[in-house]
């Protein structure tokens, strides 16, 4: 990747140091040991089952439907959700987990046989074409990379086959949540990203923390579910180990 440019940094930062009444600090600043870390106490020691309960309860307050199933039964459950959404055009990530979780042949064969159009996000197709497909799709399906029980959040890391638009442009969104991805809260996800950064691994260009459908209360403070992003969202929790 070509390196970017930085303009007017020196004068700007020197001025800040001046205002702070000391010499410029260009290295050696370490985060102090914070005197308290309450974020790590939230749901500490909860079992995976308990975390599933927390997640399910939170989904009720964020207008998100939840299904729980096994890998074996996953195609059946996903097909029920698709029927409920009455979607004929579907877009998914290009993600090996669809195969691992036994969804590939359902998406490639069964669904098209039932008259649905299924598109996979394709890095070899043009940007315009991919966006157009996602924009016309009625349902977007992705996996969750990390799932936050407390806030009912699926965390998605963008990548070549994992376009940002899939979970964004269609009116209905289905997130498949492997039970093993569920952690107590944002703290664990942020810590994981921090560790990767410290190791020198590049963070995905877009990390999405998605908690249910889009909403707004901008008109007379009355809550409207469904604004620019998805209007309806279902999480499908799958027991994977």
């Amino acid at each position: 990747m070509k390196k970017g440019t930085i303009h007017h940094q020196e004068a700007f930062l020197n001025h800040i140091a001046d205002r702070l009444g000391r010499k410029r600090r260009t290295k050696g600043v370490k985060r102090p040991k914070w005197s308290t870390l309450p974020q790590w106490n939230v749901y500490q020691g909860h079992s995976p089952e308990q975390l599933v309960d927390v997640l399910k309860e939170q989904c009720q307050s964020i207008h998100t439907d939840v299904e729980e199933t096994t890998i074996r039964n996953l195609p059946h459950v996903v097909s029920e959700v698709i029927t409920r959404y009455q979607g004929k055009k579907i877009v998914t990530w290009d993600d090996p987990r669809f195969e691992e979780f036994g969804l590939q042949s359902y998406l490639e064969k069964n669904l098209p046989e039932q008259g649905a159009e299924v598109h996979v996000w394709d890095e070899n197709r043009s940007r315009e074409k991919n966006i157009q497909i996602a924009e016309r799709a009625e349902i977007g399906i992705t996996f969750s990379d990390i799932t936050l029980a407390e806030s009912g959040t699926v965390v998605l890391f963008s990548d070549k086959g994992k376009g940002r638009s899939v979970s964004l442009l269609p009116e209905n969104y289905i997130a498949i949540i492997p039970k093993s991805t569920i952690v107590p809260r944002m703290t664990q996800a942020a810590h994981e990203i921090h560790k990767r950064v410290e190791k020198g691994d590049p963070v995905a260009s877009c990390v999405n923390f998605i908690s249910g459908p889009s909403n707004s209360a901008d008109i007379e403070m009355s809550l409207v579910v469904g604004v620019h992003g998805p209007v309806k969202v279902t999480y499908v929790i799958v027991t994977d180990r």
Binding site: I6, R125, N130, R164, D218
Partner: protein, 476 residues
């Protein structure tokens, strides 16, 4: 738009606010709802005070090392192929953004909500160059359509408008034919704006917090518009106030958690989006080009002063939602895009005292703001410091009495405000009270009390009033 909005004269703005009964009841209701949400969200955590302590520590450490963290941020953005521009002034920021727009030959810019772009008057600067600028946050979209009506709350910008007024704006400007049900109007906005997202040349966002360690920026939203702005256009420009930064993702977690709970009572908003540079090689959507504009515009003048903590603000508006004065006069009366207690602290610092010397008096010093602040900014103490400074400055020009009393007059001449202010004053005045009389008051009372003792406001009245409100809110 710039930081100043509305009529020049403070008392005229206040009169207007007091006369607008819809606005006042809407504001009170919104405050109640947002405050109740915050209290509930704080209560759930159990140890809210520890969270606030941690928030304060993080903000303090970051501000004390701001030069270091901004350097780290900019180097990491550049490493990922992004371009960084440090802008000392609004003009320089706008010039750079205009230049990018020109290079890209952009005709249409789509924006997600950003206070700093309003502060620097970016929309006007781009429109002057013949570029169309479209606000996509629902509240901002409504205001922009209504001939650039200024925002009145930093989280809910169109709070002062009722749904019938909004329907009329949609009808007059966009040919909307349906009723004034919020769902239907929102649906209409979704359809109208979807095409704009798809056809815009450039997306412009604000930044809730940048993350120094990875060169990332984060956006905290509910509507999904910021995701569209950063996923679809080929060029993205992000504008951030220079203080909106955290060291690592771990601190981002803490501040985002504090922000969501304090602003809207949510555990997390629907979308927290962390963006690092332009899209990576091989990625399909996301911008090809990414520009980060880091804006000073008066902020550095606050560093190293007794007001430095004002820069700790995370723009949650919790202080606004508990402020009894805001409840009476509404956001526009402050004459600044930053209203409420934080606005009264920040505006005279970012703009200038001369134009905003009434603002520090737009407070009953009841300290509810300080108590509500998730990063423990001592807002009411900073307001007192402002008053002291204003009086000192005024003394130099031998106009102390005249000015201090003039600022006090608008409160006194407005019965509801005076009653409330005097009820509230019992708390704030207690350190100055001597046997039921105020012998040495702060701010506007000071010159007066130097001459004679004022009867101290009754102790019970404000508390009664405030407790009633608190309970009323909690019952819901």
């Amino acid at each position: 738009m710039g930081i100043r909005i509305g009529e020049k004269e403070f008392d005229k703005r206040v009169e207007k606010g007091l006369a607008d009964s819809f606005m006042r009841s809407a504001v009170t209701e919104a405050q109640d709802r947002l405050r109740t949400g915050r209290l509930k969200a704080a209560e759930e955590l159990g140890d809210w005070e520890s969270w606030r302590d941690l928030g304060e520590e993080i903000r303090h450490h970051t501000m004390e090392n701001l030069d270091f963290y901004l350097q780290q941020l900019s180097e990491n953005v550049a490493k990922r192929g992004g371009h960084v521009f440090f802008a000392e002034t609004a003009e320089k920021a706008n010039e750079y953004i205009q230049q990018v727009v020109k290079e890209k030959q952009a005709k249409k810019v789509i924006k997600s909500k950003s206070m700093v772009t309003e502060e620097i008057g970016m929309n006007e600067a781009l429109e002057d160059n013949g570029c169309e600028v479209i606000e996509s946050d629902l509240g901002e979209y409504i205001l922009q359509m209504d001939d650039q009506d200024p925002p009145s709350h930093i989280v809910a910008p169109a709070l002062h408008k009722n749904k019938a007024q909004i329907r009329d704006v949609f009808r007059d400007k966009k040919g909307y034919v349906n009723n004034d049900i919020p769902e239907e109007m929102t649906r209409f906005a979704r359809e109208q704006l979807r095409n704009e997202f798809l056809s815009a040349d450039i997306g412009i966002t604000g930044c809730n917090f940048a993350v120094a360690e990875s060169g990332s920026i984060s956006l905290v939203t509910n509507e999904g518009n910021a995701r569209l702005v950063s996923a679809l256009p080929k060029t993205q420009i992000t504008v951030m106030g220079m203080e909106r930064i955290v060291p690592t993702w771990e601190e981002l977690d803490v501040l985002v958690s504090l922000l969501c709970r304090s602003a809207v009572g949510q555990k997390l908003t629907s979308y927290i989006t962390g963006l690092t540079g332009p899209k990576e090689d091989g990625d399909v959507d996301g911008p090809d080009e990414f520009h980060l504009v880091i804006v000073d515009n008066g902020r550095s003048n606050i560093l190293g002063t007794e007001f430095q903590e004002a820069l700790h603000c995370i723009r949650c508006a919790a202080c606004i939602n508990v402020c009894p004065v805001y409840s009476h006069i509404g956001g526009h009366a402050y004459g600044s895009i930053y209203p409420g207690p934080i606005g009264a602290v920040l505006t005279p610092l970012l703009d200038e005292y001369e134009n905003n010397k009434e603002l520090p008096y737009a407070s009953s010093l009841c300290a509810a703001c300080t108590e509500a602040c998730p990063v423990k900014i001592p807002l009411h103490e900073l307001l007192i410091k402002h008053r002291q400074k204003i009086v000192e400055e005024a003394k130099k020009t031998e106009a102390s009495e005249r000015f201090a009393m003039k600022a006090f007059e608008w409160v006194a001449s407005t019965p509801s405000l005076y009653n409330m202010g005097s009820k509230a004053a019992s708390l704030a005045m207690s350190p100055f009270t001597k046997e039921g009389n105020i012998s040495k008051g702060p701010g506007p009372l000071k010159p007066w009390t130097e001459i004679r003792d004022l009867p101290a406001p009754g102790k019970e009245r404000f508390r009664d009033w405030y407790n009633k409100r608190e309970k009323g809110g909690r019952r819901k």
